[in-house]
């Protein structure tokens, strides 16, 4: 919980990691990929305020004590949702597996939700693993990394028939939330790897699932927004948006927030601090202090009120994940309800009066 100027904010970090990118975990012969991957992350890390930067060596792997301090003691986070990213092609024990995450569950089980994963390319065995994982960890969400390499394959699409089998199984097993990360090198290489069209189809066909598009589809935010405005069960995951832009590129942060508030709406935006790309403290505090700049070029963007900040920082995600929120911190939100916020936009009857 974060308190500022007499207002209390319930904070759910909907996108965090606990990774092991240490050199000991690099797969022999694949070191360049393992290093390349964490180096990319380290580049993003340095987009945060300088006083929050860590040494590269420390960045490779943090301890449970670091995690506790950065998230719960200093970071204002009430609940964290862990996303799993396996990347076993490059990291021996996986980059950030559900098992690694679950080790933290033993210590902070009352504040952590561990999301699972699946990979449709693993076929029946993968399906059985998903069933076992959900039975063991009671997953309410999964993180899908459609660009992940697997043998000869450089990725998949949610619309692949095999992916539909897994989505159906997840829905039947009681999984509610599907976090989708779009990334480079998805197969086939001649197509746009960040294309979110497959999320569009899957969201239409699986109404029982919520689809949270992480990093709001950056770098295809326009495709994401045009889709989200038409799909009631598509959400904007703000991970990387806050961490990567709020400090480093404040004007662009304002524009992206303005566009999201207009097209997607404050009930469908979920804060994600992306630990340990960044720590949540400065992001939570910065977002609470933030206001749309008073400049003509931002004049027709919606404003962010204290109520909107409360929803984005925690209440929306709390609703999607059935997280109990103390009565004094609650607010009504339409997250999780079957609404169509963008009907008027789809009809083309709203928008800036030119």
């Amino acid at each position: 919980m974060y308190e500022k100027d007499g207002e209390k904010y319930f904070v759910v970090d909907s996108h965090s990691h606990f990774w092991d990118a240490s050199k000991e975990n690099w797969v022999e012969g694949k070191e360049q990929y393992a290093k390349g991957w964490i180096d990319c992350f380290y580049g993003y890390h340095q987009l945060g305020p300088p006083e929050t930067h860590w040494d590269w060596e420390k960045y490779l792997k943090v301890t449970p004590e670091d995690f506790e301090r950065d998230m719960f003691i200093e970071g204002h986070v009430d609940y964290a949702i862990f996303q799993s990213t396996y990347l076993k092609e490059w990291y021996k024990d996986g980059f950030n597996t559900a098992d690694q995450n679950a080790a933290l569950l033993e210590r902070w089980g009352d504040k952590l939700i561990v999301n699972g994963r699946f990979d449709p390319r693993e076929g029946d065995a993968g399906l059985r693993q998903l069933e076992a994982d959900v039975a063991k960890y009671k997953h309410k969400g999964v993180k899908l990394y459609t660009a992940e390499w697997n043998g000869d394959s450089r990725g998949y699409k949610l619309t692949d028939p095999e992916a539909y089998r897994f989505l159906q199984a997840a829905q039947d097993l009681g999984v509610k939330n599907v976090h989708v990360h779009k990334g480079p090198t998805i197969w086939p290489l001649d197509k746009d790897a960040f294309d979110v069209a497959d999320v569009d189809h899957a969201a239409t066909d699986f109404q029982g699932l919520n689809f949270i598009v992480e990093h709001v589809g950056l770098p295809r935010i326009e495709d994401f927004c045009f889709m989200a405005v038409q799909e009631p069960n598509v959400y904007a995951g703000l991970s990387v948006v806050v961490g990567g832009l709020m400090h480093a590129r404040p004007k662009f942060f304002a524009k992206v927030m303005g566009e999201l508030l207009f097209w997607v709406g404050e009930d469908k935006m979920l804060f994600g601090g992306d630990y340990n790309i960044w720590t949540p403290k400065w992001q939570v505090e910065g977002l609470v202090d933030w206001q749309m700049p008073d400049d003509d070029q931002f004049a027709d963007y919606p404003r962010l009120t204290t109520a909107s900040k409360k929803k984005i920082l925690g209440l929306n995600a709390a609703k999607l994940y059935d997280i109990p929120v103390p009565a004094e911190l609650q607010l009504p939100t339409e997250a999780g309800e079957s609404m169509q916020p963008g009907e008027e936009l789809v009809e083309g009857t709203a928008g800036a009066q030119a």
């Binding site: 360049q32 990929y33 390349g36 991957w37 180096d39 990319c40 380290y42 580049g43 993003y44 340095q46 987009l47 040494d55 590269w56 000869d152 450089r154 990334g183 480079p184 090198t185 197969w187 086939p188 290489l189 001649d190 197509k191 746009d192 790897a193 960040f194 950056l218 770098p219 295809r220 935010i221 326009e222 927004c225 045009f226 990567g244 832009l245 480093a248 590129r249 662009f252 524009k255 992206v256 566009e259 207009f262 097209w263 003509d296 936009l345 083309g348 009857t349 709203a350 928008g351 800036a352 009066q353 030119a354």
Partner: protein, 237 residues
């Protein structure tokens, strides 16, 4: 256009300046993707070696390939150049891309089994996005000056003052077969059809969103490149 670095001939630099990052819709010169450019004089003409670099190890291989191939074509076409060598450094697919471009293998030939088509359609998709974003850049000042939906819907390119932005939009449209002469409407849908007065407000919203998307992407890439190649960077390749 930024001026050629010392020791690089203006003609070679001008050729590289025509090469766009398709996603960012900006030349690779201004993006600082050209790490080196050297010329050696041979008996048959100049041999030009260009080294390219990108913001991350995992930048998408399709766009990376296009930039290397386009740079190769642009430099090879400069009068007096006998041979061009363009190489991409510090990238997960450097080896395939550099070899493929040098061997004129095309994208499918370079990534056998991983790609089923050449990149023309991909390039077209991003030129279309760029031409939507360009409409915001040109229409925004008119909106600020008080133009209403009727005036905007009927505005033509010929009515606009000449500017780099206008030239840029004409080029993008020409490349994908959309009208770009003086009679062409300023506001068109991605398929080239005219935007009606009623559609103007939402169309402008979409155009601005497209521009914000491309430009934000560009800001990320520039920041990450600068950090990756900063002196003493821990992530130095």
């Amino acid at each position: 256009m930024i001026t050629a670095p010392e020791g690089v001939s203006p003609e070679i630099w001008a050729a590289l300046d025509t090469v766009l990052d398709p996603e960012l819709d900006e030349p690779i010169t201004g993006l600082d993707f050209v790490e080196s450019c050297t010329v050696s004089h041979g008996p048959d003409g100049d041999v030009v070696s260009v080294g390219l670099r990108l913001p991350t190890f995992f930048c998408a291989p399709n766009f990376s390939f296009l930039m290397v191939a386009d740079a190769y074509d642009a430099v090879s076409a400069v009068p007096g150049v006998a041979r061009a060598e363009v190489t991409l450094a510090d990238h997960h697919a450097s080896e395939e891309i550099n070899g493929g471009v040098a061997a004129h293998a095309g994208f499918v030939g370079t990534f056998t089994g991983e790609a089923t088509a050449e990149l023309d359609e991909l390039r077209r998709t991003f030129l279309t996005k760029a031409s939507v974003a360009g409409q915001d850049r040109l229409a925004r000042p008119l909106v600020d000056a008080g133009a209403g939906p009727d005036e905007l819907a009927s505005a033509t390119l010929g009515e606009l003052p000449e500017s780099d932005e206008l030239t840029r939009l004409r080029r993008r449209r020409a490349a994908i077969g959309l009208p770009y002469d003086d009679d062409a409407p300023l506001l068109v849908h991605p398929d080239g059809s005219r935007v009606t007065s009623e559609q103007v407000p939402l169309h402008l919203r979409r155009a601005r969103l497209q521009r914000v998307g491309i430009e934000t992407n560009g800001e990320y890439c520039k920041s990450l490149l600068a950090l990756r190649y900063a002196p003493g960077a821990a992530t130095a390749p």
